[in-house]
Structures are given as structure tokens and as C-alpha cells.
């Protein structure tokens, strides 16, 4: 039949034009399927190693349901004062920690940016050091600092600074490296010195972005400092820990509600601030034609 002949004819001509595209790539497809299969199997294996099992999951869900009933109704149990004090401490730690981290991360970030310090060796070494220092979470620092220096929010702030300065420094450095080549060149073409190029070409773009990242850091720090209380480094953590252990979950629920309200407020304000930083402010010279 003509249809069948046409079909084969088309295939034959396609082979002539682009043989490679027509060759079935069974091998590659099998490889992909095998890859997904192995990945899935590995995942399941890891799950079992971690102690996952259907019985435990079921029992856990039942128990979780029971725990949730314990959370209602949330009550402050007359401890509102202590809770507010602890929350205040948490925010204060987060704020102070953020400011200190920003102050320390700024010079580190500037030196670590390829745009500013072009020496490849210094750049490489500094960035690797920052990467290594980044790996220890603040809680790990906090534990040993508490063991060495005692309890209190001071220790918590120190732990935060140690853990997060390298992280912010790296973010700052990356922000400074993502500059637009064209703008830099046009400033050079106008005869500006290196510092002037940085001041006019880099800073205006980079400053709002970095401030935005600092604000995000503050948001994260509130949660981090809440956790630090667990090891005695001040804040709301210790209050939560004792109550959870004692299964006084109604008080836990009350504290959590306050905490959520607090965090949401700060998150929203920070978001508004950040939007304002990036927004274009346009000022018009009105009525320019007033003069002849």
C-alpha cells in the first residue's frame, strides 16, 4: 500500500539526513531508569538503617495524636512573666548577634570577593577557610562554650557569631562578585580610578542586597537563638525543653503560639523593609517649564 511505502520512505530519508538522531538510544534510557531505581533502593535502605518501620510510624502517629490532644487548651499557667522575659532575651540575642555578625562579616566578605582582591591564592585560601568554618552549627559551638564559660545569653551570642560570620561573609563575597561587567567597563571608559569604579559601579547595587541578606539572617537568628536556650545559652529554649519533657504540652502550645506571632511579625516587617530597599524611588523635578 502506498501509505506503508511512504512511511518507510520517510524513515529512510530521515536516516540519510541525520542518522544519529534516528538511532534508538536504548542504552542511555536503561541507564537512566537504572539510576532512578538504585537511588530509590538506596533511600529505602537508608530509611531502614535509620530505624524507620511501619510499626514505629503507626505507633508514632497514634502517640502524636495523643500529644496533640494534650496541647489543648493552651495555657500560660501563670508563668507569662517568665515567658515574656525569655522571649525578650531571645530577640535581644538575635539582634545583637546579627549586628555583630554583620560587622565582622563585612571586611571578610570584601577581602574574599574576587572583584576586590584579585590574588587567586589569597582568594582560594580564604574561601576554603570560610567554607570549613561554616560547617559547625551554632548549637555545637554553644554546647562547648557553655561547658567552658557557664550559662547565659552572652555565651549564646558568641556561639551565633562564631557559627554565622563565615556564612554571611561568603554571602557578601558572592554578592560582590556578581557584578555587571558592562557597567564596570563603562566607568573605566570614563576614566575612573579603581576605587571610584567600586564606589559607583559596585556599591550602589551591592549595598541593598547585602542589607537584605542581613535582614534574612536576623530572621534566621531568632529561630537559632530560641534553640540555643536548650543548652542553657539563654532564651526560650530551656523553658520549652523542661515543659516538653514533663509533657506539659498545653503550656508548650501557649509558648509556641506567642513565638509564632512574634516570628511572623518580624518576618513580615523584614519582608516589607527588604521590598523597600529594592524598590525604585523616583523623584521628579516638577514644573521644570515654569522658567522661560
Amino acid at each position: 500500500m502506498t501509505a506503508a511505502v511512504d512511511g518507510r520512505d520517510v524513515i529512510a530519508r530521515a536516516h540519510l539526513v541525520a542518522a544519529q538522531a534516528m538511532t534508538p538510544r536504548h542504552g542511555k534510557r536503561m541507564l537512566r531508569w537504572a539510576g532512578w531505581g538504585i537511588g530509590l533502593a538506596a533511600l529505602v535502605a537508608m530509611g531502614c538503617d535509620l530505624g524507620f518501620s511501619s510499626e514505629r510510624l503507626l505507633a508514632g502517629m497514634l502517640r502524636a495524636g495523643h500529644l496533640l490532644t494534650l496541647m489543648w487548651p493552651p495555657t500560660s499557667a501563670g508563668q507569662a512573666g517568665a515567658v515574656f522575659k525569655a522571649l525578650g532575651q531571645t530577640i535581644a540575642m538575635a539582634f545583637l548577634g546579627t549586628v555583630l555578625v554583620v560587622i565582622l562579616a563585612l571586611p571578610l566578605g570584601i577581602v574574599g570577593a574576587r572583584t576586590i582582591v584579585q590574588q587567586p591564592v589569597i582568594h582560594f585560601v580564604l574561601r576554603r577557610l570560610l567554607d570549613a568554618a561554616r560547617t559547625i552549627p551554632s548549637l555545637v559551638w554553644a554546647m562547648i562554650l557553655v561547658a567552658a564559660f557557664g550559662l547565659g545569653p552572652r555565651v549564646g551570642v558568641t556561639a551565633m557569631v562564631l557559627a554565622e560570620t563565615p556564612y554571611l561573609a561568603k554571602l557578601f563575597a558572592e554578592t560582590m562578585e556578581n557584578r555587571r561587567q558592562g557597567v564596570i567597563e563603562s566607568l573605566q571608559a570614563a576614566g575612573a580610578t579603581r576605587l571610584q569604579v567600586l564606589r559607583y559601579g559596585l556599591m550602589p547595587e551591592v549595598l541593598p542586597l547585602m542589607t537584605g541578606k542581613a535582614l534574612l539572617l536576623f530572621e534566621g537568628n531568632i529561630r537559632a537563638s530560641a534553640a540555643l536556650g536548650l543548652v542553657g545559652a539563654g532564651g526560650i529554649g530551656v523553658l520549652l525543653d523542661t515543659r516538653i519533657q514533663l509533657l506539659q504540652l498545653d503550656q508548650v502550645a501557649w509558648i509556641l503560639m506567642l513565638f509564632i506571632v512574634l516570628v511572623l511579625t518580624i518576618d513580615l516587617s523584614s519582608q516589607a523593609l527588604r521590598r523597600r530597599l529594592i524598590n525604585a524611588k523616583s523623584y521628579n523635578l516638577e514644573r521644570m517649564d515654569a522658567d522661560a
Binding site: L43, M46, G47, D49, L50, G51, F52, R56, L57, A59, G60, R63, A64, L67, Q89, I91, A92, M93, F95, L96, V99, D131, A132, A133, R134, T135, I136, P137, L139, V140, M143, I144, A147, A148, F149, P153, R154, G156, V157, R223, A226, A227, L230, V231, G234, G237, L240, D241, I244, L256, F259, I260, V263, L264, Y283, L285, M288, A290, D291, A292
Partner: protein, 298 residues
């Protein structure tokens, strides 16, 4: 070039400029004032300024560093674990710690994998480009935001009460935070994606599934993967600390070392954590490079 020429225009400009400058300076001043007040208040509350640093605080720092010092002796560096001063003595519980670290990494991987799948599913419901129903979008939007307000520790502590101590609680906690953390970026990526390819699939007669599979996924996958990789790193770091609340992993070893006042062991574990996380970072970078290389060909 005569300057006095058109003083009208210049004059108007200078006036306006002065206005703006004044307003700008006022804003800066007010902002600085508020910041200073907040700073002083927080310094006071967190007891940074209360002055009681005890006697000889720097000496205490020095002593602290001394306690962490493993006192390695160069001659004995490679000796066995019985010899005080060798690396093996310093890392005496290496097998136990390595196993605990391995568990921490497993926790992170499983949590990221499950969290990604869940977040992707939810993000499809959250995105304007996929779900038409506003009701569905609004109701699903608050869930990740709510979960994100709480630090992972709360989940870990509660889960330990629910499923008992051990890495299962930690993995579940990490899954929750990862899921909440990824849902928002995923939905934003979906919403910012170019609808063009999806529409062209629709124009060619494809149904909803085909539109998503061929018109949306290839576009958004690389962006989403960037976030997933970032979260793998976050999770690895976080899982090391979760053990402190009993949720499994190296954290428990850290707590144990402190219980026996073994500061040098603590340092050893910190070094191991650093190496593992750096290794994970490097590995994810390599995988990212290769994956994105493949994607170009596709």
C-alpha cells in the same frame, strides 16, 4: 561652556536636590537613632554590658583553648591508639563517631529527598500557573509559612516524645523543615516561569499533565534543583546538632564528650563534622555541574 547660561533650570534642580538631601539625611539619622537604641537594649538584655565578666576573662579563654588542645607529639603522631600524643589516641572513638556521622548524613539525605517530593507536590497546588482555584491556593499557602516559623528543634523535641529517641525523630523533623523551606521557593519558581511553553503544548492539544510534564518541568527543574542542593547542605549541618535532643546522629556523641569533660574529643568530632560537611558541599557542586551539563544536551 557658559555656566551662567540657563540658571533657571539649574536653580530649580539645586533647590530640589537640597530638599531631597535634607530628607535623606533625616531618614538616615532617624534610622541610626532607632538602631542604636535597639542595639543598646539588646546588649543590656543579653548581658553583654552588665560588666560581670568574672576575673581574668582572657585567661579563661586561654584555658579553654588549652583544654581543647589534643597535645599531639610529633614523634608519636602515627603511633597506635594507646600512645598519648598520637592522632589515633586523639580520635580514639573514631569508628563510633564515624558511624554516628554516617547516620547524620543519612538523615539529611532521606529528609531532603522526602521533603523535596512533598514540597514539589504542595507547590503545584500553591502556584498560580498550575492551580486555578484561589481557595486551594490560599489554604495551602499558610501551611509552609506556619511550619517555617518554628525552629526545627521544636519538632525534634516533640517527635522524640512521639516516636522515641533515635534518628527517626530527627529525620522526620528535618523532613518537615525541609518541606516547609522548599515549598515557597518552588511555588515562586512555578509562578515566575514563562507560561509560553505550557501554552504551546496546550495549543498542540496536550492535556494538563502533558502541559506540566513537557511545558513546565524542563523549565523549572534547574532552578528547583539549586534550592534542593542548598537544602542538602543545610540539612547535613542541622542533623549534626539534632542529636543533642536525642534525635540521633553525631549530636549525641558531642553531648557525651562534654558529659565526660573531654574537650579534645569535642574538637576531634568538630573536625570530623567540618570535613564531612565540606565533602558534602564539594560533592553536591560536582553533581550540580554534571547534571546541568546533561541538561544542556537535553
Amino acid at each position: 561652556m557658559p555656566v551662567s547660561g540657563n540658571t533657571g533650570i539649574v536653580g530649580l534642580f539645586e533647590d530640589r536636590r537640597r530638599q531631597l538631601l535634607l530628607r535623606g539625611r533625616l531618614e538616615t539619622l532617624v534610622t541610626l537613632a532607632i538602631l542604636s537604641v535597639l542595639l543598646l537594649a539588646s546588649a543590656r538584655i543579653s548581658e553583654f554590658l552588665s560588666g560581670d565578666y568574672g576575673d581574668a576573662p582572657f585567661a579563661r579563654v586561654a584555658e579553654f583553648l588549652q583544654r581543647m588542645n589534643p597535645h599531639l607529639k610529633p614523634a608519636l603522631l602515627l603511633a597506635g591508639s594507646g600512645a598519648q600524643g598520637s592522632v589515633a589516641y586523639w580520635f580514639y572513638a573514631f569508628p563510633k563517631w564515624a558511624r554516628a556521622l554516617f547516620i547524620s548524613v543519612e538523615m539529611a539525605i532521606v529528609a531532603t529527598a522526602v521533603g523535596t517530593v512533598l514540597a514539589f507536590g504542595l507547590s503545584l497546588l500553591m502556584a498560580r500557573t498550575v492551580t486555578q482555584s484561589t481557595i486551594v491556593r490560599q489554604t495551602t499557602r499558610w501551611l509552609p509559612n506556619l511550619v517555617r516559623t518554628m525552629p526545627g528543634f521544636i519538632f525534634a523535641m516533640l517527635l522524640v516524645q512521639a516516636v522515641g529517641t533515635g534518628p527517626m525523630a530527627g529525620t522526620l523533623a528535618l523532613t518537615f523543615t525541609c518541606f516547609a523551606g522548599l515549598a515557597r521557593p518552588f511555588s515562586e519558581i512555578l509562578e515566575n516561569a514563562d507560561v509560553g511553553p505550557m501554552e504551546s503544548v496546550r495549543a498542540a492539544g496536550g492535556g494538563r499533565c502533558a502541559q506540566i510534564r513537557y511545558g513546565l518541568l524542563p523549565l523549572v527543574a534547574p532552578n528547583m534543583l539549586t534550592y534542593v542542593f542548598a537544602w542538602i547542605e543545610i540539612n547535613v549541618s542541622a542533623s549534626t546538632a539534632l542529636g543533642i535532643v536525642g534525635a540521633g546522629g553525631i549530636g549525641q556523641e558531642l553531648a557525651g564528650a562534654l558529659a565526660y569533660n573531654q574537650f579534645d574529643s569535642y574538637l576531634a568530632i568538630m573536625i570530623m563534622i567540618a570535613m564531612v560537611v565540606v565533602g558534602a558541599d564539594l560533592a553536591s557542586e560536582q553533581i550540580r555541574h554534571r547534571l546541568f551539563g546533561l541538561r544542556q544536551a537535553r
